[in-house]
Structure formats: C-alpha cells, structure tokens
C-alpha cells in the first residue's frame, strides 16, 4: 500500500512542474466554461426547465463538467501508448509490482493534482462569474467525493483499454481520438444526457461513459438523493469493477504478445 501511495505522490509532484502550462490550460478551460454557461443560461432564461434542469442547474452542470476535463482526462491520455510505441513498456513490466495497479495509482496522483489545481479554480471562476449551485449537505459532499473517485477509476480503466490496444495496432491513438469524441457526447459532457431524445438517452444511460461525467455532475447538483443516489453510486462502482476486470484481461492477453528484444 505504501508503494502505491508513493507512486501516486510522485505522479502528483510530476504535474507540479508544469505551472505555466496548467495556468494556460486553466484560462482556456475557464473561457470555454464561460461560453458554455452563457449558451445554457440564454436558452433557459425565463423558460422554466429542461428535464429538471433550470437555468442555474444547467449552468452549474456545464461548469462542473468543464472542471472535470483534466481530472478524468477527457481530451485523451496516451502515456501508456507512448511507452508501448517506444518500447519503454518493457521496463515498467519488469518492475516487481502489478502493472495495472501501478498505473492506477499513478492516475490517482495525476487526478488529485488536477482536482486541486484545475477543477477547484475553474469552479471558483464559475462561482465568481455566474454563481454556482453547490452541494448543501455534508452527505452530498461525501457522496461527491466517492463519485469522483469512481469516475476517475472508470475513466482510467477505459483509457487503459484504449492504450493497451497499441500492442496490436499502430493506430491505437487514431481509434482512441475517435472513441474519446464519442464518449464526450454519450457521457453527457456537451449537454446532460437527460436532454437527449429518449432513445439516445436510454442508450447513453446503458453505457459506462455517464459514470465519468454525468453521474458526478448530478451528484454535485443533488439531482439524485437517497436511494437514487445509492443506486447511481452503485452503478458507477459496478462499471469501475467491470472495466478494471476487462483491462486486466486485455493486459493478460497482451502479455502473451510481448517479446523483449535483447538490446
């Protein structure tokens, strides 16, 4: 356990080195957040609500998902794919600890950094420009924390699957970009999936991607409470377990293919 803690800590510290890059990304994320919120407010102003989101809820939704971009690496994440292409993966594989858990710990460290230095500042900008609807009870905050950990886990397992496909194809990144674009939409990043036409909404809800953006944002907004909240978190947890198992399976298959060239 101590090992994973250290790995996560190092991943966190590694990000600290990129202060200017983070600041630039923050400004860009905040600007897009502002535009997205303005569009939703203009749509909803004085017209009640869509699917239970009034103007303030929809606007908060867009800021929360905007804050999550880097935390759950919505724009893509290719650290493992890079090591597979360069061959560095061999040195990671020969380390005396489980490969999947090693990367999961690293990703928690990375995500923790972006929660503190990207997500929080963005929510702050949202608060100052529009005024967000924050969680009101300690229970909601606890549920949010759990939901975030699960969202990061689901997103990690999914990204792991995309990355590890690089063992079979040189086009993993191309496929990955395509997949990321689709999940941005089906995960409820662009607009809440509850706004979709019913058939598309049901499809989106049946897929794991809502666990990455839609669910944590809805937990933030306290749209789900009591039993519904428990069921939402449970679904997230089930997807996390299922996708991690898939990641593990795919990794085992990939291991049969790795041939280390003596160098």
């Amino acid at each position: 356990m101590k090992l994973y803690w250290e790995v996560a800590k190092r991943a966190f510290q590694r990000q600290l080195a990129y202060r200017t890059a983070n600041l630039a990304g923050l400004v860009t994320n905040a600007f897009f957040g502002y535009v997205r919120a303005a569009v939703l407010v203009a749509f909803l102003q004085g017209r009640g609500e869509i699917a239970g989101y009034d103007a303030q809820a929809a606007m908060t939704y867009s800021w929360v998902t905007q804050a999550l971009i880097m935390v759950v690496a919505l724009w893509g994440w290719w650290e493992i794919e890079t090591t597979i292409r360069t061959g560095d993966v061999v040195s990671d594989l020969s380390k005396p600890f489980p490969y999947l858990a090693f990367w999961l710990a690293r990703d928690y460290g990375r995500a923790a950094y972006f929660l503190m230095f990207r997500a929080l500042p963005i929510l702050l900008v949202g608060q100052l420009t529009f005024g967000l609807r924050w969680p009101t009870s300690p229970l909601s905050w606890a549920a949010l924390a759990l939901s975030l950990v699960l969202a990061i886990t689901v997103s990690f397992a999914w990204r792991f699957l995309l990355n590890v496909s690089a063992f079979w194809t040189a086009d993993a990144r191309g496929i990955g970009y395509l997949a990321m674009a689709v999940i941005l939409f089906l995960g409820g990043f662009a607009v809440p999936v509850h706004f979709f036409p019913p058939w598309l909404r049901d499809l989106a809800l049946a897929l794991p991607f809502v666990a990455i953006t839609q669910t944590p944002a809805d937990v933030f907004l306290e749209r789900v409470t009591g039993l519904a909240l428990a069921s939402a978190l449970l679904r997230q947890a089930l997807w996390a377990v299922a996708l991690l198992a898939a990641a593990r399976g795919l990794l085992a298959l990939a291991m049969r293919r790795v041939v280390t060239q003596g160098g």
Binding site: T20, A21, A24, G25, V27, T28, F31, F32, V35, A38, V39, L40, V41, A42, F43, L44, R47, I50, A51, A170, D171, G174, I175, Y177, L178, M180, A181, V182, L184, F185, A190, V191, F195, F196, P197
Partner: protein, 270 residues
C-alpha cells in the same frame, strides 16, 4: 526573384510532398480525419439537442445559429489547415530551426507556410461545410446576388482574419516562447464563442470581439446581413459589410508584426 507563378508552383510541390507522406499511413490518416470530424461536430450536436427542447436561442433559430456556426467553422478550418506550422512556431524558435529558414533563398513566411500541412484538418473543414450547407438549405434566405457575394467575401475575410491572428500568435514567439498558448483563446475559443449569437454574452466580451480582436466580422455581422437582421446593438447597417476591410487591416497589421519579429529575431544559438 520569384514570380507569383513560380511561388505558386513551388507551394503546391512542397504541400504535395507533405500530403503524399501523410497518405502513407492510410488507416491512421482516415482515423485521424474521422476523429477530427467527430470531435468538432459534437459542439453542433449539443446545440441541436438543446434546440429540440427550446426553439430559440436569444431570438435565433437553429438554422440561423447553424449559419453562424458554419461560417466561423469554415473560415477557421481553412486558416488552421494552411498555417499548421504557425501552431508549433514556438518549437521552431526554441530548436533553432528558424535559422535554417532564414538561410534559404526564399521568403521566410512562404517557407514557414510550406513547412507543415495537416491533411487531417480536413475533418474540421468537412464538418463546417456540412453545417453551413445544412444552414443554407434549411433557411429561407431570399437569395439575391449581393447576398451571394457577401457570403463568399465573408468566408474569405474570415479566413484572412483567423490567419492574421495565427500569424500574430506566432510572432509572439519571437519575444516569448510561451506566448503561443494565449492565441488559442482567440482561435479555438473565438471560433467556439462566435458560433453563437453575440447577444448572449456580457457587453465587455462582445465589445472585445467587435473592436479589439474583430472576430464578430468573421460571421456575426455578415450573417446579420444575410438574414436581413439589424444590429441589436445599434451599430449602423453598413457595419455588417465591413468584413473585407477589417480583414485587410488585420492582415496588414499581422504582416507588419511578422516583419518586425523577423528583424528582431536572434537565434537561440543551440
């Protein structure tokens, strides 16, 4: 001395070489193309979803917003495709590659333009064209020759405006290698922002994209003309036709900045 004709031939030869090399990896190329298409069309799909629930955005219909969106997208995609090397201009300076450019017997700007050309950016252009085409078929524009001219001139002006901003962003790299990020707000962010009617933003932001970084002339003002709308902010009617003038002024400014930057350039010496 190079005549425009030889430069033109040379341009296509250099770009052709880039295109051929990128077509070597056909599957990668196709995936990249579709990926770029999907990533950019999502913004429009999101708007379309909202319109299924509420028919108007600040008094604009889906077709009208699609017109704004398509015009901005096409202009920006063209600029982005032709000036890919400006995107990574900071590495040119940092790695000293720009020295090589200066030592060759051709204009520096011409060379930089031909250094990099990304065919996969056709993905953005395709989705922009698609949305623009949808807007034009869906809207009842009451076409007249002047409107056709305004549309074509607006797209060309938009291309020039975005290109000029990209050039000025690259020029920043002559002073600071980290200047590049700042332009993303005006290009990617500007394209995103001006895809929606400017009425929905606060006054300072609207003034900023009208008078300081004049992105409103890429699509908003020409679209007002095409849609027979008057400016909700009370500017005179002829302002809607100012796009080409704004584009020329901005291009001159970008050119001056580029010349100044090149003159000031000192190699990193690495």
């Amino acid at each position: 001395m190079h005549t425009p004709r030889t430069l033109f031939v040379l341009y296509w030869r250099l770009i052709g070489a880039q295109v051929r090399s990128q077509m070597q990896y056909k599957v990668s190329f196709l995936l990249n193309l579709i990926g770029a298409f999907m990533a950019t069309i999502i913004d429009f799909l999101a708007v379309a979803v909202l319109f299924t629930r509420i028919p108007h955005l600040a008094g604009w219909s889906l077709g009208e917003v699609a017109l704004l969106y398509g015009m901005s997208s096409v202009s920006f995609a063209l600029a982005e495709m032709l000036s890919a090397a400006l995107d990574t201009f900071d590495t040119y300076i940092a790695h000293g590659t720009f020295d090589r450019v200066l030592s060759r017997p051709l204009g520096a700007f011409f060379q930089v333009l031909t250094e990099d050309f990304r065919l996969r950016r056709l993905g953005r252009l395709t989705q922009g064209t698609l949305v623009l085409w949808l807007a034009l078929t869906y809207l009842d524009l009451r076409w007249s020759p002047d409107k056709a001219v305004v549309l074509v001139v607006a797209l060309a002006s938009g291309f020039v405006i975005y290109s000029s901003i990209l050039v000025m962003g690259a020029v920043l790299c002559f002073w600071t290698v980290q200047g590049k990020e700042a332009t993303n707000i005006f290009t990617y962010g500007g394209d995103f922002m001006t895809s929606y009617p400017l009425e929905i933003y606060s006054d300072w932001l609207r003034h900023f994209v009208t008078f300081i970084v004049p992105l409103a002339f890429v699509n908003y003002y020409p679209a007002l003309y095409l849609l027979d709308r008057t400016d909700p902010f009370g500017l005179p009617a002829w302002v809607r036709l100012l796009s080409p003038l704004v584009a020329i002024l901005l291009a001159l400014l970008a050119w001056a900045a580029w010349t100044l930057g090149v003159r000031r350039y000192q190699s990193t010496g690495s």
